[in-house]
């Protein structure tokens, strides 16, 4: 187990290195120049040249890359070429916001998904199952910008309610933070719920067909004990897998939802960086998200061994 962990963490190095090259190359291949974008159609060629030099963009690409990676190795993500702001503190601050949003969305999603998924599986092909499956399909197919816009406009039009415009953290003011995050979290939670619900249903259907379930029932256990004691645990692996992927994905920043509700999260930060060709911001942001994604997956792998002790690394 210990050596497995060490191996996994060491394997992070080539992954991150590869990502750093990839994101740097792709970003610099994209047409558009941060200095010209910043100055817009107002730009005079000399003003652009001065700004490019200030941004360090007049140096060869290889030396720009080495400079960036050199900084990274010392924990320095560099500064935004537009605002001159330190990138790492900004990423961390925004990550905490995205984290709160993600956790709330996942909480809403799972609370809906798991009970209904189980219900749908043990009553498969009944009317209940059909209703749940139609709702799930709806949850997957309606894009989150539509759900979000409807929630926002509906509540403000008919209830004259609009979420607080300043973002607060749960540790500063839980009640206010709840109001800030509830709409985006519900928006994202619906999609999460739909995905997890489908996975729960199919995993459960498979498990409930197994011999040990029949044996458990034959012993005279109640349906509740069988489902909770035998069914849930044995169906957990695929559910946890998809949940892990969703968390990783949401932590990368749900760009559209953050944009819609003006949540200054990580996704919005990177998106703005892309529009303005703020290279260090995008590079740092993508690298950070990749790291988080890989770590979440590592944690999921570790959870497997706890769910199913037969899995050993």
């Amino acid at each position: 187990m210990g050596s497995y962990l060490v191996k996994r963490i060491i394997s992070l190095i080539p992954i991150l290195f590869g990502i750093s090259i990839l994101v740097f190359t792709i970003l610099h291949l994209v047409p558009g120049d941060p200095a010209s974008i910043m100055l817009g159609t107002e730009a005079t060629p000399e003003a652009v040249a001065v700004l490019r030099a200030e941004m360090g963009l007049d140096k060869p690409l290889v030396s720009q890359y080495l400079h960036w990676v050199g900084g990274l190795l010392q924990g320095d993500f560099g500064v935004s070429v537009h605002t001159g702001q330190e990138i790492l503190p900004e990423i961390l601050k925004r990550f905490m916001i995205t984290l709160q949003l993600t956790l709330m969305a996942v909480l809403i999603g799972w609370t809906l998904a798991i009970p209904f998924g189980i219900l749908s599986a043990i009553r498969s092909h009944s009317k209940t199952d059909k209703v749940i499956r139609i709702l799930t399909l709806l949850g997957i197919s309606v894009p989150n910008f539509a759900v979000g816009t409807l929630l926002l406009l509906g509540l403000s039009l008919y209830f004259n309610w609009f979420p607080p415009i300043d973002v607060t953290s749960f540790w500063d003011d839980p009640a206010e933070a709840f109001k800030v995050f509830i709409l985006p979290a519900v928006t994202m939670g619906i999609a999460v719920a739909a995905g997890v619900m489908r996975m729960t249903r199919s995993a459960f259907l498979e498990t409930m067909d197994k011999d040990f379930i029949r044996t458990a029932r034959a012993k005279g256990n109640s349906m509740w004990t069988v489902v909770m004691g035998h069914g849930l645990r044995n169906s957990s692996i695929p559910i946890v897998t998809i949940a892990g992927m969703q968390i990783g994905y949401l932590l990368g920043g749900s760009v559209i939802v953050e944009q819609l509700f003006s949540i200054p999260g990580l996704g919005q930060y990177v998106l703005d960086g892309i529009y303005q060709r703020d290279y260090p911001v995008v590079q740092g942001g993508v690298l950070f998200v990749a790291l988080v994604f890989v770590l979440v997956n590592l944690i999921i792998d570790l959870i497997y061994t706890w769910i199913d002790p037969r899995i050993k690394y």
């Binding site: 558009g32 001065v50 200030e54 809906l112 403000s156 509830i182 709409l183 509700f261």
Partner: protein
């Protein structure tokens, strides 16, 4: 059993609803808190303005982006200012006079003006500011505005004299630009600190969330500003801004023409509009075949129905325009004085045939996907050009890519939007003279260059106007650009807020804005 299942479905649904309505009951609590706060801080008023973009730095000499200039133009002052009618009024300079030969301009500064940090404004600060702008290492976009400056003198603390190489009729207007903001002597890094003389003090900037400005209690105009604070709330999505203004969470928001229609007549909201200084254009690369033939360009001009663009793209909320936008009322020519503005497909076909393209040709219109109005204008033009046999493909570019193409001077034709500028010199010389920085169309006409240069040096306003009239007609005739439409801009404003936007800019209006209790 079935009943129990149904019940549980309803239960969870009602739980979800109660989560929402739990928030829904909040406004009562909210407004109580707010009114409680308001009574505590008697008479304090804060204006919340929704903006769609994060500012990208606050150095007025370096960052021309609108997201930044809307903020620093409230923190700094310029020597002169423009009023709502775009007429010159005193700024930091109380009076000024131009020498009879036009080669020197003397400004007399207002007395007792203080920077936010406490030191008094002197002529040395003005001198330092303009030297900073003119220094090539600063890379200021305002440098080109003041190319005529030879030397700057500060004979006494209240007087600044600009010696000019040639007379410069645009100098006074250019001096009113936010990018010519007066900074204190010795300021170097203006991204980190903002020490201006303006009506507001930059208090806090929270990236991605808001920028907070507090009233400058020592502002030279005692009645202004009328509010104690302005908070620029960053809201990137138009739907969110609309919902927020309807719920009364924000006071002012710029909105699109479409949203303005939706908000019109809604309780608590007033929609305000003004004729903007912007215009949309079809830019033509005059070096590229077949556009190097002026007859081809004229043919396009006759084929394009500008009124249809006004109606389809702008829903009628725009005006026809020449090279100088109609908001500059005393300089813009009446569009009826341009013969090629009347749509005439037969004449267009005939011109194309004369140029050797009786059956038309294929081409590409490039435009920015970021702005729906540009794409729609391109689509209307695409349809209209079909009538004379020109088959245009539309190429939608992402903004960064669009700027690159615009700069390349190698495009075919392009749909874009310009700001005409508050002085005709900018509308004319900057965009279309042979050496103009924004002349990416390779347009070069010695007669035109001479006209706009003479106009710049014309001390007499009447003579200047005559020269620009001639230059505008010549430009429309030559058609390196087709000037399409100058849109109105819209704001949604809460009922209790007295905000009157004009072409002179958002900040000019914000300083005078008051909130009724």
């Amino acid at each position: 059993m079935k009943k129990r299942v149904l019940a549980s479905v309803f239960l969870s649904l009602s739980l979800m609803l109660s989560a929402c309505s739990g928030g829904g009951s909040a406004p009562a609590g909210d407004s109580k808190e707010q009114s409680g706060e308001a009574s505590k801080t008697e008479g304090k008023s804060e204006l919340i303005v929704a903006v769609d973009q994060d500012p990208v730095g606050y150095d007025p000499h370096k960052v021309p982006a609108a997201s930044s200039s809307r903020i620093y133009s409230l923190v700094y002052d310029s020597l002169t200012k423009l009023d709502a009618n775009l007429d010159l009024v005193p700024g930091l300079a109380e009076t000024w006079e131009t020498a009879p030969d036009g080669k020197s301009i003397t400004f007399h500064l207002r007395k007792g003006v203080k920077f936010h940090k406490g030191q008094e404004l002197t002529a040395e600060d003005v001198k330092y500011t303009f030297e900073r702008i003119l220094n090539p290492d600063t890379g200021s976009i305002a440098k080109s505005y003041f190319a005529s400056v030879d030397s700057i003198e500060a004979p006494d603390p209240a007087t600044v004299v600009f010696k000019l190489k040639t007379p410069d009729a645009a100098f006074l207007t250019n001096a009113s630009a936010p990018s010519a903001s007066i900074v204190s002597k010795g300021s170097t890094d203006l991204t980190k600190e903002a020490n201006g003389t303006g009506p507001f003090i930059l208090k806090k900037s929270e990236p991605g969330q808001y920028v907070l400005l507090k009233k400058n209690p020592d502002y030279f105009s005692k009645e202004l500003p009328k509010v104690d604070a302005i908070k620029f709330q960053i809201m990137k999505d138009e739907a969110e801004r609309m919902a927020a203004i309807r719920a009364g969470k924000i006071d002012i928001s710029a909105v699109s023409a479409d949203s303005a229609k939706l908000l019109e007549g809604k309780p608590g909201i007033q929609v305000k509009s003004y004729q903007s200084l912007e215009y949309s254009y079809l830019g033509i690369n005059v070096k590229k075949k077949p556009f190097d033939d002026p007859r081809v360009r004229q043919a396009i001009s006759y084929a394009v129905d500008r009124n249809q663009i006004v109606q389809t793209v702008w829903k009628g909320e725009a005006s026809l325009t020449g090279p100088i936008a109609p908001a500059l009322t005393s300089w813009a020519l009446d569009p009826s004085s341009y013969p090629s503005y009347s749509t005439n497909v037969e004449k267009a076909k005939q011109l194309l045939a004369e140029a050797g393209y009786p059956n038309g040709f294929d081409t590409v219109i490039e435009t920015a996907s970021t702005y729906p109005d540009m794409v729609e204008s391109a689509q209307v033009i695409q349809q209209q050009l079909k009538a004379i046999g020109i088959n245009a493909k539309i190429n939608q570019l992402e903004w960064g890519n669009y700027i690159d193409t615009w700069k390349s001077k190698d495009m075919n034709i392009m749909v874009g939007r310009n700001t005409s500028g508050v002085d005709s010199d900018r509308s004319m010389r900057y965009f279309f003279s042979t050496t103009g920085s924004a002349n990416v169309w390779n347009y070069s006409n010695p007669t035109y260059d001479e006209l706009v240069q003479k106009a710049l040096e014309a001390v007499d306003v009447k003579e200047r106007k005559k020269l620009y009239d001639e230059a505008q007609k010549l430009l429309v005739e030559d058609a390196p650009n087709l000037f399409l439409a100058s849109p109105k801009n819209f704001y949604a404003v809460r009922d209790n807020v007295d905000f009157s936007p004009t072409a002179a800019g958002e900040s000019t209006a914000l300083v005078k804005t008051s909130v009724k209790k």
